[in-house]
Symmetry: C2
Amino acid sequence: MKSTHHYCVIMAGGIGSRFWPLSRVEKPKQFVDALGIGKTFIQLTYERFARFIPAKNFLVMTGENYKDMVLEQLPALSPDQVLTEPCRRNTAPCVAYAMYKLRQMDPEAVAVVTPSDQYIGNDEAFLRVMRGCMDFARERPVLLTIGISPTYPATGYGYIQARREEGQDFTPVMRFKEKPDSRTAMTYLSEGNYYWNSGMFVWSVGAIIEALRDHLPEVATRFESVGMAYNTPMERALVNQAFTDCPSISIDYGVMEKSDRVYVRCTNDLAWSDVGSWGALYGLLEKDIRENSASGASRVNLTDSNHNLIKVTNPKKQVVIDGLSGFLVADTDDVLMICPLSDENRIKAVIEKASSKD
Amino acid sequence: MKSTHHYCVIMAGGIGSRFWPLSRVEKPKQFVDALGIGKTFIQLTYERFARFIPAKNFLVMTGENYKDMVLEQLPALSPDQVLTEPCRRNTAPCVAYAMYKLRQMDPEAVAVVTPSDQYIGNDEAFLRVMRGCMDFARERPVLLTIGISPTYPATGYGYIQARREEGQDFTPVMRFKEKPDSRTAMTYLSEGNYYWNSGMFVWSVGAIIEALRDHLPEVATRFESVGMAYNTPMERALVNQAFTDCPSISIDYGVMEKSDRVYVRCTNDLAWSDVGSWGALYGLLEKDIRENSASGASRVNLTDSNHNLIKVTNPKKQVVIDGLSGFLVADTDDVLMICPLSDENRIKAVIEKASSKD
């Protein structure tokens, strides 16, 4: 049963280019079918939550230029469910906007806030975990985060240090940690009470608005002042002004790290990934017996080639590769990129240089 | 001065796929700008000969489906200068057709017969050599070939064994040799009187028709029988019948190897290549300081990459390559091919497999 008080806010404002040339400023990662399964990340995200949240209870936060793409990819949503930021102000103003608007719609709302571009391998576990979180947050004025049991000393994720409490699903958070260096990440792993910060939050609108007032009054007051105009024709203009006046600050830094009501739901069975690099994507993809993953082409001939990730966006294209191993080959209408798959920093540098306009 | 009795017959019937995916059955090598200089091989061939042969004295022999492409690429020619073969019968019937037709036009014609897809680096030397050949052939009933002094023991060319005659430009041919194995090729080189068979011939129509009658009567009689119909509206139908009735045989095997009036003009300064492989093409191209040759793309970013041949047919495409060395990267509208550049046989095998329709 889907609760009418349950809401989902999908944060889809990212303009990342980690999957350049597959993702671009004009079509960021969340709108791309990087897994080659016929669904984009935002579609997968929507479907995951739509199992327990009614379609009309979704909000998508995105940039003005992506609104049409959201509506095209999520046809179950109406235009007034896609909210746009007039300018980029990081996540806190965005969350504040959504929460004040939700409170005006439903003061009993319990909301999950989620990135739009993650991968979850175990949908059943996800459903179970999220339902537990919604219940937990409905009954208490807490700010709940989802923490992923680390499987390796990742340096690409932030960490959540939880209080050591055996046998509890929900644990108070001691501290949030920035992306660590490799050595620190290994310490975290051996400590045992550190979790990857998934970027998903669950809370009642009452709890998050109280926390915003306490810790980010310069954001809270601006969205408070929109008042009764939420969900009226006046909302747009007033919210745009509020955004413009807000400082740029993340919800993690502005609220989560400061509140003493933050809990983490630790889990190890979501098969979660933020798919933050070509290498991470390669790890998730189905591969042939020689560890090649090729998708998007009409025909692929591989000879003496192993451990390659091959992504083609023209379904009429044939790919012929001989004697190439450990490479990323990404071919779009206007870019052909070939580089070693294993070194994330190198790919990043290559992308930075190649995607600059000069 | 261009002699009105000098003619050039360009053989453009090849359907080779050595430069697949750049060249295709639909657009064979001679019609491709493989050198990336804005001119195709047949255009370069035409221009080379047009320096001493009038435009109206050219004939191009090609397949029916390539006629429009020839006329498009050689706008100086009129449609009746482009002759088509109704079926593939190797070179002897094709040469016979052109020569009988020429004789009907001009019994004093001296003709050079040339492939349409070769590279000549030294146009001045070429002009000098060819003029000498035309003069030599006008005055004697000889069949003249152009022999290239070998610079390495190539196994991809046929060889011409010349009689040892010091200080002569034109030497009688002792024997034609098929493409040798590597060991034999080295013997040829050390012998000193072996030359690469360029596939270019020079002769008067009288000499070649006499030789055809002597050595290939089954071909000669068929084109002889077209008689007065050459250069009339009846030519087409009668020639098509002649072709169909002819055996499939090469002019080399059918005439050149049998006649005792064959001479070779040996030369070492044409900078000649038949550009018979991707590797041969790479050798001819301009390269950057790291021995990369990239052409056809709007922008190329190369990092830690050496000795690559990169060919792109979409001028709006950007190429980004990191950590790749010694590879051929060929990108067309419908094929992306990546394979080691050094191993010709390997490329051949890959192309064969990839270009098959199954």
